[in-house]
Subunit: 229 residues, 2 copies
């Protein structure tokens, strides 16, 4: 076992009895293809387990601390446990420095990397649960993930960016934003859209993506930034 | 509080400290409309919580007892925690005798009832968790839900009925089943399909449903029964 992994455990603040569990948690399936004699399995079973631990920990916290209806709590939970949030937490914890993956995967630092990081984050939670029990995993989740709830609630990040931009536009300008496709290119299996976000006839921002929906969301995200909402 | 609810607690084998939690767990939202002075909330928050408890309990059990890849465990879990299974368990535990719902809902004993029962089952798990803690809830889930796993695995109930019928047909007759739409009626928003399931040109069963897919699944379910597979 590399000395790396024990420094990672230190960084997480978890005194793992079995460091192999933590190492497995940062082992992406692609790593095994290039390292046939690697003694551990990849992290997908730990991810399966960690996902359920995370779900209960967050659900329990929301249930006990907020009297809101189930529908609202469900939205808040989704904002806490989605891939974007988990990959953000993973980066903060330095998971990227310890990820084991194929050379091919190593080169892709965009969306695919976020997905791998988010899954590793769940697997790490699974590893803590197996090694240290539920209470310790729950504590880890509170300190590293539930800590994001305050910002989620104050910035209404549980709304998707389009809904949030619309709510703010109506509140401040009394107007409903609209989206226009500015560019559509590429073959069917690899489309690219550029969409503009407008208030009345003023263009606020542009977004780009593989579908109109994703381009609109991107435009809304940028619009929120530009407006400082 | 009715004496009923304490007999229900006895039936579940759980010594509730706070029986109101159990009563809330069997209170459907519709009941509050007709009983404005009812002192408790409906069961949706408990259901939100119980769903996450159930998920961890089942996930942990599968993780610890089976070395299978995550994809298989996910399918098995889905077969254990889906609405059909939960409503079946709820009926076996007599939940129906204690459900509080509107007169309107009381009349509907079909799919809508199953849905209400399954949700009440999750809410009951949530109530046990709040009142008695995780360990007791986990035990209850093992005794009443995970106990179904043996049959799920031996009868491959984690496959959808169409996949299962096809697998059996190929194994026994070396032939692939086919489906034919026998009847399509009703307006767009309220379609009704009747579909026949065939082996070669012999009709084995018929199924009915609001979409072709659902009618096919129903036909496959009946086909499995008829063939005694």
């Amino acid at each position: 076992m590399s000395s790396d992994i024990s420094s990672f455990a230190d960084r997480l603040g978890i005194g793992f009895k079995n460091l192999k569990l933590l190492q497995q948690a940062v082992t992406h399936r692609s790593y095994l293809n290039e390292n046939r004699n690697y003694p551990l399995d990849h992290n997908e079973r730990l991810e399966f387990l960690g996902d359920a631990v995370l779900e209960l920990s967050v659900t329990d916290y929301l249930f006990r601390n907020f009297p809101n209806p189930e529908g609202e709590l469900t939205n808040w939970r989704a904002a806490l446990v989605n891939k974007d949030m988990l990959s953000k937490v993973a980066r903060r914890l330095g998971v990227e420095d310890y990820l084991l993956m194929s050379r091919g995967e190593s080169k892709d630092v965009g969306r695919a990397r976020n997905y791998i990081l988010a899954n590793a984050m769940e697997a790490i939670i699974g590893a803590i649960y197996v090694d240290q029990g539920y209470k310790k995993a729950d504590e880890f989740i509170k300190n590293n993930i539930i800590v994001e709830l305050k910002e989620i609630l104050s910035k209404k990040l549980y709304l998707d960016p389009k809904s949030y931009f619309q709510e703010k536009a109506q509140e401040i300008y009394g107007t409903t934003p609209s989206y226009r496709v500015l560019l559509e290119s590429g073959p069917d299996h690899n489309k690219r859209f550029v969409v503009g976000l407008y208030l009345e006839n003023e263009k606020i921002s542009e977004g780009e993506g593989p579908s109109k929906q994703e381009a609109q969301r991107e435009a809304a995200r940028k619009g929120i930034e530009i407006k400082n909402w």
